[in-house]
């Protein structure tokens, strides 16, 4: 698997999209920091970028890579290589190169700005960690979509829909149901609903750092426990990891069943 990962990674490193992605983040980091000259504001804007753009790019890129490397995949399938390692290798290759573009692209300007000297370092590190998580999750979901759909156009369509659903529609439904059932105790429900959407989950993980003072304004005991202690952080991180593991498992499962 490591060999496949290596080749996928090299392949991507020489693809111009990785650079586009990298330079986009680099530019974003520079604009946010050096034009605005304000670390706290930059961190807040970055959060918005990370929870919307990273999943979008993860899905699109994952689907695109899968379809574009079909030839490569077929070549590999006839080689004495384990099937699942081919797909997992490719998946990790994509996810890794995307994460690297993200971490380096944003990291460099922040390092030059002196984030290590500031108190925002942990907010920033948390942003990068959740960004990496989201990349892993959405690339895995994209691979699943692509594996299930031979038709490229369909695959892209589903990928965009997935993103749209997770990033916008889900929260819309979530909000509506909270307002509709407002007479009932909802804190458990809302936390569970958060767990089912990795974007919401990452958002909450970042909120724990950026907006903890607002989150503690709610009286429910479950919220209090979740936000007021390390419990929330631990649970969110654990569930995010599960969100990586499950789609990865399904890549494995689909890969070992599919015909080429």
């Amino acid at each position: 698997m490591l060999k496949i990962l290596k080749y996928s990674f090299y392949d991507l490193m020489r693809s111009r999209w990785s650079y586009v992605y990298f330079f986009f983040y680099l530019l974003l980091g520079i604009v946010l920091l050096f034009l605005n000259n304000n670390l706290s504001k930059a961190v807040i804007t970055l959060m918005n970028v990370i929870i919307t753009l990273v999943p979008l790019i993860g899905t699109i890129f994952g689907v695109m890579y899968y379809y574009n490397s079909k030839e490569f995949t077929e070549l590999l399938l006839a080689q004495p290589v384990k099937r699942t390692s081919i797909f997992l290798g490719q998946y990790f290759g994509v996810a890794l190169s995307l994460s690297m573009s993200l971490i380096l692209g944003l990291g460099l300007p922040f390092v030059f700005y002196g984030v290590f000297m500031s108190s925002a370092i942990w907010d920033f590190v948390l942003l990068l960690i959740t960004g990496t998580f989201l990349t892993l999750i959405f690339t895995a979901l994209a691979f699943n979509i692509a594996l299930a759909n031979e038709n490229k156009i369909k695959g892209f369509g589903y990928a965009i829909l997935l993103w749209l659903f997770m990033a916008v529609i889900y929260d819309g439904i979530f909000l509506m149901s909270l307002m509709f059932f407002e007479d009932y105790p909802l804190d458990k429900f809302s936390l569970i609903a958060t767990m089912f959407n990795p974007i919401d989950l990452s958002r909450v993980l970042i909120l724990l750092k950026l907006d903890i003072s607002a989150l503690l304004g709610y009286t429910g005991a479950v919220f209090q426990k979740f936000f007021g202690t390390n419990f929330g952080f631990v649970v969110s991180t654990a569930v995010l990891s599960i969100w990586v593991l499950i789609p990865t498992y399904f890549i494995k499962k689909q890969a070992s069943k599919k015909d080429f």
Binding site: D171, F174, L210, G217, G228
Partner: protein
């Protein structure tokens, strides 16, 4: 009552003014006086009692004549949890440099480490109080000073704990440079006017860092209120001046930097509200000037709960609060001008330092959260940003005229 004061005053005048030229009595295990009580009983007016280092298991020490009690190297007075320790009933008393511990706890009596009753011109300074019920309790007293005391309680529950410094029907008291932690209310003023509360640190108290009730014309300045159960509460008072204080880390569902309730004609200037659940909670307050305050990283910088008229917010900085303003009515009679809002996204084409587009500090989402608190979990979601944006473009739920017409482009720096 008035008659009583006049009586007291004439009584005070009738004493011969030997004052500071009194004798010095020493108290220690090997001294002539082995107990403080005995020394007080023996002392003449305006004598000085020096208490040497040591442990004194005494309580109900009543200072009923103008004396100066000075501790040398912090002698410990241990009340053994039996009741009140020192009670001052005379004018012109100074208590200085004592370490008072183990005040008795009671559900019927407010035992204090040191209590001043109906006295004037007292000075209570450099005390250390630990294991207490109430700390320094001033009742019906005036013209005194509480300076540089260190009060460390061990309160856990509200119902069986007392306040650090409490004023009840007092006038002209200065409370300066005290540190109060782990009690119920750090500093509590009730029916106390013309007091100055300056340079104190009040933190980690289980209820309020500072609590005002029915007290007018008071000033509090340069204090730090941090991590108190419910922050600072100022209620039913007039003409309060709040300058240059720091309100920080007051977290919780009923926790505020400042809770203002029925406050009129006051000034809140130059304060910093940092990472509180609610910076200022406003209810039934009128004609208050908010100027040059910094609201940084609060859940809600300012939360209006209704019946607030003619308040004026000008030249404040609102930085990275989850919500800058929460408003519960469609009417607005308050002014918000020339503030800096970090979430302002307008532009300044004429380069006059003022944004060309007015800023709307109330977001639709803050309404939603007011209605259904659980929705807070959707904070900063893309969907919320979208509905906030649409509300900004065409306000439906937020007051139409709640605008900062002169939003500043740069952070306002004072002086």
């Amino acid at each position: 009552m008035k008659l009583f004061y006049i009586l007291l005053f004439t009584l005070f005048l009738s004493f011969p003014k030997q004052s500071a030229y009194g004798n010095t009595l020493e108290v220690c295990s090997s001294c002539e006086y082995k107990s403080i009580k005995v020394a007080i009983a023996q002392a003449q007016d305006f004598d000085t009692i020096v208490i040497k280092k040591g442990l004194y298991k005494e309580m109900n020490i009543v200072i009923d004549k103008p004396l100066t009690l000075i501790g040398e190297n912090y002698p410990v007075i241990d009340g053994e949890f039996k009741g009140e320790i020192i009670t001052i009933t005379s004018d012109n008393v100074t208590v200085d440099g004592l370490f008072i511990i183990n005040v008795g706890t009671s559900y019927t009596e407010d035992y204090a480490a040191i209590r001043v009753i109906k006295s004037k011109n007292f000075l209570i300074q450099n005390l250390k109080l630990e294991k207490l019920f109430f700390g320094i309790f001033l009742e019906k007293s005036s013209d005194g000073k509480v300076f540089h005391n260190n009060i460390i309680g061990d309160a856990v529950e509200e119902y069986n704990s007392g306040n650090g410094i409490q004023l009840w029907y007092c006038k002209n008291i200065e409370i300066d440079q005290n540190i109060v932690t782990h009690v119920r209310d750090g500093i509590y003023l009730e029916f106390s006017d013309f007091c100055k509360i300056t340079n104190n640190k009040s933190r980690e108290n289980i209820r309020y860092g500072l609590h005002f009730m029915f007290s007018n014309d008071d000033l509090y300045q340069n204090n730090i209120f941090q991590n108190n159960g419910a922050g600072v509460a100022v209620m039913f008072s007039k003409r309060i001046k709040m300058y240059d204080n720091l309100f920080k880390d007051n977290w919780g569902s009923a926790s505020y930097g400042v809770l203002l309730k029925e406050i009129n004609d006051s000034e809140i200037i130059g304060n910093t509200f940092e990472t509180n659940t609610i910076g200022i909670n406003i209810e039934g307050t009128n004609r208050i000037i908010y100027k040059n305050n910094h609201f940084t990283g609060n859940g809600w910088a300012i939360k209006f709960r209704g019946a607030c008229y003619a308040n004026n917010f000008t030249e404040n900085n609102f930085l990275y609060n989850s919500f800058d303003l929460s408003y519960n009515s469609k009417l607005n009679d308050n002014k918000f001008d020339h503030n800096y809002w970090s979430s302002y996204t307008g532009y300044d084409l004429d380069k006059n330092g003022i944004g060309d587009v007015p800023y709307r500090p109330v977001k639709l989402f803050s309404y939603i959260v007011n209605r259904t608190p659980e929705t807070i979990i959707l904070l900063r979601s893309l969907f919320i940003d979208i509905i906030d944006f649409s509300e900004k473009v065409s306000p439906v739920f937020t007051p139409d005229n709640l605008l900062d017409n002169y939003p500043q482009m740069k952070i306002i720096t004072n002086d």
